[in-house]
C-alpha cells in the first residue's frame, strides 16, 4: 500500500512538473497542417525579418507550426493587383491598402475570412474595424496604419514649414522629391488645392494636373524607395512620403524633420487579406492570427516603424514608439485626413493618362528635333558620298 501511495505521489509529482509544458489544445489544433506551405505576398521592407537583431517573424512561424512560408514582395498595390488579377500566381496572404481592398472585393478577388480562426482579432482597436472598404469586416484584418506627410532637411529649409506649399516654393528648385506613382502624387496636389482625393470631377483632376506640371521644374526626381537614400544623403531638401518611413530615415540622418501639412493629408490602412485561389486557407488564417499576437505584432511595429492598430502593441511597455507624436499624434494635432477610395474606371483612366502627360513633358523638345534632323542630313550625305565614290571606283576598273 505504501508503495502504491509513493508511486502515486511520484506520478502526481511528475505530472505537476510536466503539466505546464503540455500544450493546451487552444484556438484550434493545427498539427495536421504541419509540412504544408503558404505563400505570403507583402510590401518590401514590411515585416520584421531578423536583420539588426530583430525577430525573424516568418522563421518563428515556421518553427512554431511546421508550415513553410514562401515570402515574396511587391512595390506597389498595382503590381500586386496585376499579379493576382492575371491569375498566374497563387497566394494565401496578401497585404493591400484600403482602396485596393475595396477594388479587389468589388471584383471578387478576395475570399471571406473565417474570423473564428482568428481569436487575436480582438487585439485590433475598434477605430480600425468596420472601415469603409470592408464595412462588415469580412475580408480584411488591419496590419499597419499610416499617413502621408512632408520630410525636410532642417539644414536646407528655413523655418518650420506647415503647408504643402513648400513643395511649390521656387527657393527649393531641384531639391523637391515627389512620389513616383500617380495616386500619391495627385494626392499631394489635391490636398494642396483643397480638392477631395476621390473626386470624380474631371475638371478638378485637370487642376491638380496643372499644379503638378507647375511643380515639375522644381522636382529633382520622382521616387519611391529611393527616397531613403536621397533624403538620408542630403540629396534633396523636401520629400512627401509616408510618416513611418521618416522614422527609419531620421535614424540615419538626424537633420531630418517631419510635419503633417495643415491642409490635410491621406490616411491609409494596410490589411491582411486572403485572395481567391488560396490553396491553404486554414494555414493562412493561422498566419494572420499569428501576426496579430502581441509579441509578433510588437516585433513588426518596432521594425517597420508604422503605426500599429493593435492594442497588444500599444499597451506594451516595451514599445518604443508609444509616445511618438508622429505615429500617434494627439487628437488636437491630427491633420484632417482622407482615405483613398477605389476610383471609377473612367477616373482611373483620366488620372493615368494625365500622369503619362506629366511624364512625357521635357524641356529638350526643340533640341531633339534639331538633333534628329541634322543627324538624318549627315547620314544621308554620307550615304550619297559612299555611293558616288563606289560608282566612280567601279567605272575605274
Amino acid at each position: 500500500m505504501k508503495r502504491i501511495i509513493s508511486s502515486l505521489s511520484a506520478f502526481i509529482l511528475v505530472l505537476l512538473t510536466v503539466l505546464p509544458f503540455i500544450p493546451v489544445a487552444s484556438a484550434g489544433d493545427y498539427s495536421h497542417l504541419k509540412g504544408t506551405e503558404i505563400n505570403v505576398y507583402n510590401w518590401g521592407e514590411y515585416i520584421s525579418d531578423g536583420s539588426e537583431g530583430s525577430l525573424d517573424v516568418n522563421k518563428e512561424f515556421e518553427k512554431e507550426t511546421g508550415i513553410k512560408v514562401n515570402y515574396s514582395m511587391y512595390e506597389t498595390n498595382e503590381d500586386m493587383y496585376n499579379k493576382i488579377k492575371g491569375g498566374g500566381a497563387n497566394y494565401d496572404v496578401v497585404i493591400p491598402s484600403d482602396y485596393m481592398i475595396a477594388r479587389m472585393i468589388d471584383e471578387g478577388l478576395l475570399e471571406k475570412i473565417d474570423f473564428s480562426n482568428i481569436p487575436n482579432y480582438s487585439n485590433i482597436l475598434d477605430e480600425y474595424k468596420n472601415l469603409y472598404f470592408d464595412p462588415k469586416n469580412e475580408y480584411s484584418v488591419p496590419y499597419n496604419v499610416g499617413m502621408v506627410g512632408i520630410i525636410y532637411n532642417t539644414k536646407m529649409v528655413e523655418g518650420t514649414p506647415d503647408s504643402w506649399s513648400i513643395m511649390w516654393d521656387e527657393k527649393y528648385k531641384d531639391e523637391v522629391l515627389q512620389f513616383n506613382n500617380p495616386r500619391d502624387a495627385f494626392g499631394v496636389a489635391q490636398k494642396y488645392l483643397g480638392i477631395s482625393l476621390n473626386t470624380t470631377d474631371s475638371e478638378e483632376w485637370h487642376r491638380a494636373y496643372d499644379k503638378l506640371k507647375e511643380q515639375k521644374p522644381l522636382v529633382s526626381s520622382y521616387v519611391m524607395d529611393d527616397v531613403f537614400n536621397k533624403m538620408e544623403g542630403g540629396e534633396a531638401a523636401i520629400a512627401a512620403y509616408y510618416a513611418g518611413d521618416y522614422l527609419t530615415m531620421v535614424e540615419n540622418n538626424p537633420d531630418l524633420a517631419f510635419f503633417y501639412p495643415k491642409e490635410g493629408t491621406n490616411i491609409f490602412v494596410d490589411s491582411m487579406c486572403i485572395p481567391v485561389g488560396c490553396q491553404n486557407k486554414e494555414a493562412a488564417e493561422l498566419y494572420i492570427n499569428y501576426m496579430l499576437r502581441g509579441d509578433i505584432a510588437l516585433a513588426n511595429a518596432e521594425y517597420i516603424c508604422y503605426a500599429s492598430p493593435n492594442r497588444a502593441v500599444l499597451e506594451n511597455e516595451e514599445y518604443s514608439f508609444v509616445d511618438n507624436e508622429i505615429l500617434y499624434p494627439a487628437e488636437e494635432d491630427k491633420p484632417p485626413t482622407e482615405y483613398f477610395h477605389n476610383l471609377e474606371p473612367e477616373t482611373l483612366m483620366l488620372m493615368t493618362s494625365l500622369w503619362d502627360n506629366l511624364k512625357i513633358e521635357g524641356n529638350d523638345d526643340k533640341s531633339i528635333y534639331i538633333g534628329l534632323i541634322s543627324f538624318t542630313v549627315i547620314a544621308a550625305g554620307f550615304a550619297i558620298f559612299r555611293t558616288v565614290r563606289k560608282r566612280k571606283r567601279e567605272s575605274m576598273y
Partner: protein, 277 residues
C-alpha cells in the same frame, strides 16, 4: 548547291525552333492582338490613334539612342582595334577587363552611378577636395546617356574586336607593298573589313538604349520619360495592357526601320563575322 538537312540536323535544331516559337513568335502575336483590341477584346484602333501624343517621347528615345550609339562607337572602335592588334596574352586580359563589369547585375551597376553622380556624390566630393565647384550631373539627359554608354559599351567592343581579329595581316602587308601609307591602310583595308562588326555592334547598343526604362528612371530622376518608361507604366501602374502593347509594337517597327536603314550601310561589304539583323 543546296543540300537537304539530315534528320539528325533537324532534330538538333528542333529545341531552338520550339523555343523561338513559344517565347518569341507567340508573344509577338499577343502583342499585335492586344494592340488592336480594347479591354473587352473587341477590335479597336483607339490605341494606335492615341500614339500621336507620344511622338516627342518616341523621338527623344531614338535621339538618345543614336547619341549613345555614336559615343559607344567612337570609344569602342579604337579600343577594339588596339586590343585586336596586341599580343595574345594581353588580348585575353583586356577582353577580360571589358567583360568583368558584365558579371555584375545591370541594375546594380546603374544604381551605383546614382551615388557617383549625385550632387553630394563621390565625384562631387572629389571635385570639392581639389577646389572645383560642384557639377550638377544626376537627373540630366547627360547622365542618362552616360548610363547607356557605360552599360552597353561592351556590346560594341566585342563584335568589332571579333571581326578585327579575323583581319589577315597579309592584307595589310599587301596594301603597304602597294604603297599605301598608314592612314590609307586603315581607311581602305581595316575599316571596310570591320563594317559587319560595327553594324552588329550598333544593333546591340541601339536597340537596348532605345527601349531602356531603368536607366532613365534612376539617372534621369523620372522627370523626363523615354518610351520604355511609358510602356512600363502602362503595365505596372495603369494596367492598360492594350495601349502598352500598341506602344511596344510601334517601338518594334521603328527599331526595325532604323536597323534596315543601318544595314543598307553594311550590306554591300562582303566581309563576314558579324551578326546581322
Amino acid at each position: 548547291m543546296k543540300r537537304k538537312d539530315s534528320l539528325a540536323q533537324r532534330l538538333c535544331a528542333s529545341p531552338h525552333i520550339v523555343w523561338s516559337a513559344l517565347f518569341i513568335v507567340v508573344p509577338l502575336i499577343m502583342v499585335v492582338y492586344y494592340a488592336f483590341t480594347d479591354k473587352t477584346g473587341a477590335f479597336t484602333l483607339d490605341n494606335i490613334s492615341r500614339l500621336s501624343d507620344y511622338t516627342t517621347t518616341f523621338l527623344r528615345s531614338i535621339w538618345y539612342g543614336i547619341i549613345a550609339t555614336i559615343i559607344c562607337l567612337v570609344i569602342a572602335y579604337p579600343v577594339a582595334y588596339i586590343i585586336a592588334r596586341s599580343k595574345a596574352r594581353v588580348q585575353s586580359t583586356m577582353i577580360m577587363l571589358v567583360m568583368i563589369p558584365m558579371w555584375m547585375n545591370f541594375l546594380l551597376r546603374t544604381y551605383s552611378w546614382m551615388t557617383l553622380l549625385a550632387d553630394n556624390g563621390v565625384i562631387n566630393n572629389l571635385l570639392a577636395k581639389i577646389g572645383a565647384g560642384p557639377l550638377h550631373m544626376i537627373n540630366t539627359a547627360g547622365a542618362v546617356i552616360l548610363g547607356m554608354v557605360y552599360n552597353f559599351l561592351p556590346y560594341m567592343i566585342l563584335p568589332i574586336y571579333t571581326v578585327m581579329t579575323k583581319l589577315d595581316n597579309s592584307l595589310i602587308e599587301a596594301a603597304q607593298d602597294l604603297g599605301a601609307n598608314k592612314a590609307r591602310v586603315f581607311i581602305d583595308v581595316v575599316v571596310p573589313h570591320s563594317i559587319s562588326g560595327v553594324v552588329s555592334g550598333i544593333t546591340m547598343v541601339f536597340v537596348p538604349s532605345v527601349s531602356t526604362f531603368y536607366i532613365s528612371q534612376k539617372l534621369g530622376g523620372g522627370s523626363f520619360a523615354l518610351i520604355g518608361d511609358i510602356i512600363e507604366m502602362q503595365f505596372q501602374i495603369s494596367n492598360n495592357f492594350n495601349f502598352g502593347a500598341a506602344l511596344s509594337l510601334v517601338l518594334m517597327i521603328l527599331i526595325l526601320i532604323c536597323m534596315t536603314v543601318m544595314n543598307r550601310f553594311g550590306d554591300n561589304d562582303e566581309s563576314k563575322g558579324g551578326v546581322m539583323i
